[in-house]
Symmetry: C2
Subunit: 246 residues, 2 copies
Amino acid sequence: MDQIFKDLSDAESDKSAGTKSQSRTSLTYSAMREDIISGALEPGLKLKIEDLSKRYNVGSSPIREALSLLTSDALVSRNDQRGFRVVEVSAGEFDELLKTRIWIEQRALEESIAHGDTEWEENVILATYRLSRVARSTSEDSFIANEQWEKLHKQFHMSLLSACGSSILLRFCDQLYDRNTRYRHLSGPSAYPKRTINDEHTALSDAVIARDCEIAVKLLIEHYSATGNLLRKKILKRSVGAVKSN
Amino acid sequence: MDQIFKDLSDAESDKSAGTKSQSRTSLTYSAMREDIISGALEPGLKLKIEDLSKRYNVGSSPIREALSLLTSDALVSRNDQRGFRVVEVSAGEFDELLKTRIWIEQRALEESIAHGDTEWEENVILATYRLSRVARSTSEDSFIANEQWEKLHKQFHMSLLSACGSSILLRFCDQLYDRNTRYRHLSGPSAYPKRTINDEHTALSDAVIARDCEIAVKLLIEHYSATGNLLRKKILKRSVGAVKSN
DNA sequence: TTGCAAATTAAAATCGATATTATTTGACTT
DNA sequence: AAGTCAAATAATATCGATTTTAATTTGCAA
């Protein structure tokens, strides 16, 4: 928990017209969310209101509200009268996450393929292309997560599902995606040794565009299972050596 | 919005030992949740902090935290700098809800049937029996929602899914169930004229116990679709005549 | 009248102080 | 040495006042 945090206190210096000023609660929520998913705030960490107030430079009310919101994202746990914590990670939860994600995304993908229109198709093509153009790591030898890749990767996966016809289902997928990303970040750098992820993405995209539901679903499941298997080992290693903080 | 609300101010008069005192936030959250689902706080209503403070007899902080939590349940919407509202209802959202619920619960039911053990089976039997023993309405002629039935009905449906192996999926089902219940309450009394709901429940339960996945899923979908069709008409009628409050 | 802008009012958001509850410490007993 | 209890400390939860922002009204000019 020893890193530089953004100062939210002068967030409303919003010179750019049109941008309706966000509340401190919203800004703090986004910032904390980012910090939990990235691993900056590590699993199990006790989240003391006063500490957070100092770090994010806001009073206790926005902090508490942000924590309440994060609770529903399953990133923070609340325990009445004894505060908040970053939720723990475990191999068990990871497996459940993976399993559930596959169940839900399978259906979303099927519906998307069945109902997606031309615009959707083009969005998939675009998202696939954009993702293919950026590197996963900013460095060649050591792995340094590329912010841009993260963003495009999520956009790619969400684009596949976006025509499923249910914003409710999409919301679930979005949430599960982020929870999974957290595991990916926590598992440490260079999680995917030799696998040619880009090829997997392209193949998946092709099947989707060809409206080949069977293949697409098969590829999606394989894609998730493969990354999942790699991650699980790391998580296990991690959770054994984990230190319950403060 | 002119009804009696519970006074939360002396909630900690918790004589019963063992019950760890809940926070005002939690209590307020539950109370407001109940009031939104029951329709006491109607769709679109502006939720002014001060009003709510008076009604629920707590300060602004617990109110705001409770509202933040309700936001993630999709029961309350927040609009930065201009407060909270009870989320609107619409035929469109209802359809999406129904559709999504069927997608998700189908999978949950399939998994549950595939993996459920003896204990699960017995829970289903029990839940079915208990539900069959209470009346939907407390009155014979006019429809007056029976609190007990509501509880047991939810327990019945959740019991069917409870062995699906994913607490994450169950959480989703739970949330969607509640959102649907809100529609049911809003659609007004005596929503189900002649249909013998109890028979439908029994048939569903039988199929589940017999591990007949195909039939069970078919019955579940029919069950939801039938009630859904009835509700949709009422919702349409309602949303036309709705008055944007305050 | 109608349109616009300043002034007013109302509400949301935020802060910082207080009250409440949990946790730790340390003296004392067995 | 281990356990128990009470005081001291630390943290949470809550309140009420203040600041900031949005919505409304009012007054003035075209």
